[in-house]
Symmetry: C2
Subunit: 434 residues, 2 copies
Amino acid sequence: LEAGDRKQFLDTFLELHPTDQVDFFIKLKDDRRKRVYDYLSPEDFSHIFEGLDIDDQKRIYQELDEPYSSEMFNNMFADDVADFLEAMTGGKAEDILQKMDQEEAQEVKELMAYAPETAGAVMTKEYVSITSTEVVSNVIDTLRKDAPDAETIYYLYVVDEVERLVGVISLRDLITAQPTETIENVMGTRVVSVDDDMDQEDVAQLIKKYDFLAVPVVSKQNHLIGIITVDDVIDILEEEATEDFGEISAAKGATDVNVSSFKAARRRSPWIIMLMFFGLITAGVIGQFEETLEEIVLLAVFIPLIMDSAGNTGTQSLAVAVRGLALGTIKKGSIGKMVRREFGTGIMLGLICMAVLAITVTIMYQHWMLALIVGFSIFCTLSIATVIGATVPLIINKLKLDPAIASGPFITTVNDILGLLIYFSIATALLDFL
Amino acid sequence: LEAGDRKQFLDTFLELHPTDQVDFFIKLKDDRRKRVYDYLSPEDFSHIFEGLDIDDQKRIYQELDEPYSSEMFNNMFADDVADFLEAMTGGKAEDILQKMDQEEAQEVKELMAYAPETAGAVMTKEYVSITSTEVVSNVIDTLRKDAPDAETIYYLYVVDEVERLVGVISLRDLITAQPTETIENVMGTRVVSVDDDMDQEDVAQLIKKYDFLAVPVVSKQNHLIGIITVDDVIDILEEEATEDFGEISAAKGATDVNVSSFKAARRRSPWIIMLMFFGLITAGVIGQFEETLEEIVLLAVFIPLIMDSAGNTGTQSLAVAVRGLALGTIKKGSIGKMVRREFGTGIMLGLICMAVLAITVTIMYQHWMLALIVGFSIFCTLSIATVIGATVPLIINKLKLDPAIASGPFITTVNDILGLLIYFSIATALLDFL
């Protein structure tokens, strides 16, 4: 296919869906890729470039000569250019912007000015806006011309003379409307819009809730400045889920599958080493009770059980809290209610486990005092573990601190230490009876 | 607002977005709700009913009289009716279907016949299909009439005389096409479609990959039988992420935030109790080494450290594997590659931790033999823990077993037991040197 015939290649290739073009392109060898740059116009290639992930984009960018890449950037959606430039270092972004069209570059700069993960940073500038005095049939005619440049034409946003958002009409409603009507009479005036500094996760939840295909982004003065489309929302939701995943498993920044052993070890080791030092703290806690342990070595046997139960209960509560925050089912601020619920759950879990454990240990070890110590420790530990697991992420969320602090292993370690402290304290207090 | 004036209520209420109508409706008291049924036609109310979650739907359904609810079901999307009926027990579903229009009921029955979580089960029947011989302007005219009944009109599917899918055209392309063209000349013929028995997660990944707004579902004979829209995909992705979340934290089926303490405890306790029994196995393992422990009580101090490190490393690998499967970055079947990668990562993590730990323990406890035992145990444990964490979910996925077996706490427990076995075996072997 790729062996020389330019026209035939173009005919077949451009028929493909852009996503398939990307799949095809990325598998090519070096010299074949070069030929693609030759064959494709910067505009056609811009669709492929948009579909690459950031590491590939950087690599491919090196291969392009400057006039070609500048023209390509001009043809890309502004938000995709902004994403790429944000990943460039050392003044390279400035260079690229200068070589681009003034107007295009300006749009990209505006997008780059927003804080990451806000509506402003993920929105696109390529939307269709109309005024309320236009007539339906004229709007449809205009759409025929503008359609290729916009990211979606399925919602048309209606603005007044100073670009304030006043209404919205879906393409669906537009084509079912009388051709002679003015937009004013057919548009919806209850427009759901988001502020440019809204968190991307909240935007995603909003679009999900309303089943929108896109939502308009407005400035503080209600000026329409961009839109966020549903395909961006899917990416945002996946991104946030991956973040939450890392949070619970301390695999933050290490959920990448296609890296070498060495790279994976380098990314994961800081967590493992940090957590190992927490393990040394736990070791120190047990060390404090060495005398008790020397009296009754059997106590050591239940260390894993206390730790596992504390850890598992805490992680369950953590999962509930993290997921609840992500899905928006926990209202930010309802910490008090959550504490009460989890404390209640913990007490009940504790009572059940205490009963089961006391009976099992009495039977297995013929030692009812040991059973009592282990059972009562479990009860106290679980009651607290649920509260810690559920509330630490909520508090962190409220204080807007780095959620990594609430990672699963960290909470597990805290619960381990608490559990063992309770266990050995009770055991030491009752030493005379053992 | 709700205090009597029917006309005014209808005017305001029906202006609201259906999602807002639902929010408003669900907060009403009993007698107010009754008035809503009076005021709203079954058709208008069907949009509210569609927006409720399943528990509310069941409750509200009880309040409706039969002719009203039958008419409401007739007006709902077939997939929503199917979802509701699947949650009904005791022949109730049959009753409802019999009271519905023949044609509507037939569609619902077809949907209910598919296995859960397949494309067939989540698709909707309300799509627009056209034939390739039609003329663009006529199609647009038809759309004007059909638009309100279809779930999306942004893709039109082109079928031949025996309902086989032969092409697709977006509304965007349709309105930019010459009004006099026949569909044949403007439609795309490379249609991406899914089979009716495809897993819903794979469908979601496909739509995400191509940034589609909808994808057609076809039978084995390539007959068009339904479509899946992007808003369904968002729900599917969230559902799957929640499932994966439960998998890693043993909170399966318990990630619900708005339940009472009692209910939460009842849902979570089976896991905690089961895992507690695993803890008893671990206790048994340590019990085997009671003599060694009696000689050197200090060994007990490092039990938590060994366990935590094994657990954390395993959970990291698990998170990478589960997330990779969910995002499709791990190809099903590439187990061999994964095992090698993770084993390599484990060895490197093990070497780093061994070095750090040996030095720290020597300094803290002035006991180089102990440092050697702890360090070497960590090395062996981590090398294995990564492999177990990453490959167990892959194997389970391949064997199509219940993924709950691969839950985080289970893998952690397996790694705990292995780690402690290694630790105490090494210590026992070197007992004479301690």
